[in-house]
Amino acid sequence: MSDPLFAVHGLSCVRGDRTLFAGLSLTVDAGEAVHVRGPNGLGKTTLLRALCGLSRPIRGEIRWRGERISDLAEDFTAEVAYVGHLNGIQGELTAAENLRLASRVFTRAGHAGQGEDEALARVGLRAQADRPARHLSQGQKRRLALARLLVLRRPLWVLDEPFTALDVASVTSLSSLIGEHMATGGLALVVSHQAFDLPGIRDFELARYCRTRR
C-alpha cells in the first residue's frame, strides 16, 4: 500500500497557554474530502492553519507526499489553496484583476488553472468582473475568494467556513465545486457550521483530541 498523499501524525497545537488538541492523526488521500467538525473555540481554525503551514504546531508532523511540509516549504505551499476567514481580496482592484494577479503571483509556470472569466462565471460573478471588489457584497466577496481556487488549480484545498454569507442556492452550487475537485483527484479539508450536502465527504470530530472541555 502506498503512503497517503496527506498524512498528519501526533499533532498538538497550543493557543496562548492552552492546549487545543493533542495527538491528532489524520490521513487524506487523493479524491477525498474531510469535514472537520466541532463546536466554537475548539481549535478548528488553528488546525487548518497548521495543516497548510501558516502556523507551526508544537508537536507532531505533517507529511505531504511522504515528506515533512516544513522540509518542503514552498514546494508544499505551491500545492495548497487556503481560504480563511479573511477573503484575501484587495478592495481597490476589480474582481477580474484580483483573480488575474492572484494567478500570476501564485502559480508556477505550467500550473495555471482556469482563466479568470471562466472562474468568475462559475461562481456567478461574471456581471461583477469589472467592479472594484470593495463594492461587492459580503457574499460576493466570498464567492470571489472561492473563484481563486479555480484559478490556482492546487491539489489540496483548505477551506475555513467557505460558505459564510452565501445564500442557500450558492451553497449548493459551490459545494459541488468541492465535489468536482474530488472527482479530479483533489483533496479538501473543510470546516463549516453551515449544512452542505456533499456525497463522499468524511466527518472528522475534532473533540476526540481535546482532553479538556471548557
Binding site: C52, G53, L54, S55, R56, E74, D75, T77, A78, V80, A81, Y82, G84, H85, L86, N87, G88, I89, Q90, G91, E92, L93, E97, L101, A102, R104, V105, F106, T107, R108, A109, P132
Partner: protein, 227 residues
C-alpha cells in the same frame, strides 16, 4: 524556475502599484508631510539665507526620514486586514522575494517622488545649487534603505494595538546612521565639510546591506506575526 520568481515578483510589484495608486490619499500623506515641514522651516527661522543654508541639509533629511516613517504603516497593514498577506504567505515562491517586490513598489510611490520633489524644496531652504545633485542622490539611496529597514518593525508589529507608535520607536535608532551620513553628504557638497563622495559611498553600502537582509528579516517577522 527563476523566471517564475521574477514573473511573480513583477506581478506583486504591479499589484502593489495599482492598489497604492488607487488608494492615493495614503501615499500622498508622506509627501504632503515632507512638503509642509520644509515649507514651515523658512517661515519659522526667517528668510535669512545664511541661517537657512546652515540647517537646510539637516531639515530636508529629517523631514524625508519622518515622511518615510509615516508611510511605513501602510506597507503591510491593509494587506494584513483583508487577508492578502495570509495569501502571500502561501505563495509558491520564497516569501522574501515577494516582500522585496512589495517594498520596491512602496518605495516607488513614497520615496521616489520625495527624492524627485526635493530640489524644489531645497531652493526654498536656500541650499546652494551645487548641493542639489547630492541631495537628490543621497535621498535616492537613503530612502530605499529607510523603507527596507522599516519593513522589519512594520512586519513585526502587525496586529499590535498602537503599532504605529511602536514602529517609530523601533525604527528611529536604526535610521540614525542613514540620517547622519545623508545629511552630512549634502552639507559636505554645500561646502561645509569633507568631500561628499565618502558619505555617499557609505549610504550605498547601507543600501546594499539593507537589500541583503531586510527582505529576509521582514518575511521572517511576517511569519511570526501571522502565526
Amino acid at each position: 524556475m527563476t523566471g517564475g520568481v521574477l514573473g511573480a515578483m513583477r506581478a506583486v510589484f504591479v499589484r502593489e502599484l495599482l492598489v497604492f495608486w488607487r488608494r492615493s490619499t495614503e501615499i500622498m500623506a508622506g509627501l504632503v508631510f515632507f512638503l509642509i515641514v520644509t515649507t514651515l522651516f523658512p517661515l519659522a527661522i526667517g528668510p535669512e539665507r545664511r541661517e537657512l543654508m546652515l540647517v537646510a541639509p539637516g531639515v530636508l533629511w529629517v523631514a524625508a526620514l519622518l515622511a518615510t516613517t509615516l508611510s511605513l504603516n501602510h506597507l503591510f497593514a491593509s494587506d494584513y486586514q483583508d487577508g492578502s498577506l495570509e495569501q502571500l504567505l502561501m505563495s509558491p515562491y520564497p516569501l522574501s522575494a515577494m516582500v522585496l517586490a512589495k517594498i520596491a513598489a512602496h518605495w516607488v510611490l513614497t520615496g521616489l517622488p520625495l527624492a524627485l520633489l526635493s530640489p524644489l524644496l531645497a531652493i526654498q531652504m536656500a541650499l546652494p545649487t551645487k548641493a542639489i545633485g547630492t541631495l537628490v542622490g543621497s535621498l535616492l539611496m537613503g530612502t530605499p534603505t529607510l523603507t527596507l529597514i522599516g519593513a522589519i518593525p512594520a512586519a513585526l508589529t502587525l496586529g499590535v494595538r498602537g503599532g504605529g507608535v511602536l514602529v517609530s520607536l523601533l525604527v528611529l535608532p536604526l535610521y540614525t546612521p542613514v540620517l547622519i551620513f545623508g545629511a552630512e553628504a549634502v552639507a559636505a557638497s554645500a561646502g561645509q565639510g569633507f568631500a561628499s563622495v565618502a558619505h555617499l559611498s557609505l549610504l550605498g553600502a547601507f543600501l546594499a546591506l539593507a537589500l541583503s537582509f531586510a527582505p529576509w528579516a521582514s518575511s521572517a517577522a511576517l511569519r511570526v506575526s501571522l502565526d
